[in-house]
């Protein structure tokens, strides 16, 4: 039995304006949470749509649970998905919307009430969808994705519009599902959230996969950094020069110097800055995080 839930090989989608996704390659092991990240327009949603059979690739192939995406009818009954945010009929209640999808997919109608409770919509399940807040709509979207009791859950920005408590609930839910063997493929712009829950990560940039693999492996490729602030902003350039003289890469972002280097070198820098008459107001060694790594790899600060 294969251990791969999603396998993407040279997958491409080309429009008249150019490639939305270009020769993408990655694999997602069964039972893991895989973060799918990239700047706006990187091709995340296009990739997800191809995996769900909504749009046809112009090149390459992909397999979900061992089945080609050319035959979505063979695997979609085991896949739950929320693409581009929740989309439901405004005049129907949340429960009735789920019943439409449950009927269509051949899932037990009794599951609807259970899912409404799981996503925290009890008491509002029979209100019309058009009266829901963005967070409630998002919860309903997640409930719809869970209808088939899926082996693979594909979620596009599931925490959009949720308050911090809601974000934590979704995080816990995804962790629980993964612990039960569900593969979760989730795109989000909340990189700190993905860093907490993901074991695997796929990074897209301008339609191309720039990294795909275990998150730990990605972090090991990144240098720890030291964040430095000075009393006078004009002294930051001098700090950069000191760092570069010692062979460290350094840049200034938002009046903070980002210097690649181990925490031990921070003491050396502090002394050299003192000798140069520079007053430091912050000297903070940091381990690499997904957000910094993402910016580093994609060059995107939007």
């Amino acid at each position: 039995m294969s251990t791969i839930a999603i396998s993407v090989k040279d997958l491409s989608k080309k429009y008249d304006s150019g490639f939305a996704v270009s020769h993408a390659n990655f694999e997602v092991p069964i039972g893991t949470i895989c973060g799918f990240v990239g700047p706006n327009g990187a091709g995340k949603t296009t990739t997800i749509r191809m995996l769900l059979g909504l749009i046809s690739p112009t090149g390459g192939t992909a397999q979900i649970l061992g089945q080609s995406i050319n035959h979505p009818e063979k695997y979609l009954s085991q896949v739950g998905a929320m693409i581009e945010g929740p989309a439901f009929y405004p005049a129907l209640s949340g429960a009735e919307n789920l019943k439409v999808l449950a009927t269509l997919g051949g899932f037990p109608i009794e599951r609807v009430e259970e899912l409404i409770r799981i996503v925290g919509l009890e008491g509002r399940g029979h209100s019309k969808y058009k009266t829901y807040s963005l967070g409630m709509k998002q919860r309903l979207g997640i409930a719809a994705a869970l209808l088939p009791n899926p082996k693979i859950l594909i979620l596009d920005e599931p925490t959009n519009g949720l308050d911090p408590e809601g974000i934590q609930e979704v995080r816990d839910l995804l962790k629980k599902l993964a612990s039960q063997g569900t593969t979760v493929f989730v795109s989000s712009h909340l990189l700190s959230e993905l860093e907490i829950i993901s074991e695997y990560i796929v990074i897209l940039r301008k339609g191309e996969v720039v990294f795909a693999g275990p998150l730990q492996e990605l972090m090991q490729t990144q240098q720890p950094i030291i964040l430095v602030k000075t009393e006078n902003a004009s002294d930051l350039q001098k700090i950069i020069e000191i760092a570069e003289r010692d062979g460290h890469k350094a840049t200034i972002r938002s009046e903070v110097a980002h210097i690649e280097g181990l925490a031990e070198w921070a003491g050396v820098l502090n002394k050299k800055a003192f000798d140069a008459g520079i007053v430091l107001t912050q000297l903070a060694p940091q381990l690499p995080n997904l957000e910094e790594t993402f910016f580093e790899m994609t060059g995107d600060r939007s």
Binding site: L54, V100, L104
Partner: protein
Amino acid sequence: MMRVIRAEWRKLRRPTLFLGTLGAALFFTGLTNTFLYLMIDSEGGNSDRGREVGREVLNLAGGSVYGFSSVGGLLGVIALCVFAAQTAQEYTYGTLRNLLVRQPGRLRILAGKLIAMKLFALVLVLISAAVSVGISVALSGRAKVETDLWFTASGFHAIGQTLLNVTISVIYFGIVGMVLGLLLRSPISAISIGVLWLLIIENLIGAVKPVTLDWMPGNQLSTIAQGGSPDVSYSHALILGTLYVFVGSIVAATLFSRRDVAN
């Protein structure tokens, strides 16, 4: 297929849609029948396009459903609006992607939706027919129309035949609406273009050049409901109407099955 039909029916049966549509259908049914009987002696005519329908026609076996056959075109326009809205709103709400994830067979989705909407149209036609006959019976005395032949064997045959013709017509109108909804992917565009064409453009062109009405799709479908008209024969309308609906369906189904679902 049954799952698609049942899922679609869940949407169609909601009270605002069902009762709203039925209300519109009964309004036109009531209005047409009331004019037919209460204005029977009017010099301005008592039927569509100012036609005069006298007692000698209404006294016949098919008299009980004459009004119903006349309102068939308007029931068709209502069906066009419902079919177009129910189809195009899947694009505007973004719900089509949910449907296709749960049922990837696109033609199955299309066929299931169509069957569910046909059932909806059938219910609409049956209730309208019953109300129409009821109004005809109620107003026949006041209009001095004899009803002796209405409920004989040939009277019931006429009722059945008219019911069949109006059902075919209404479903054809509905399919035109569905085709427009699939092509335009917007309920407002599909309904406005459909209604504008059927109620205004066709009539304007027909008024300037009457011979064009022999080929106009809306006129063919209305003529089917009426079982033929002085200008267009029933068989001509049925063949041409079926051809229009068939070609439109093939084009729309081909597009729907191949087009990317991007938004």
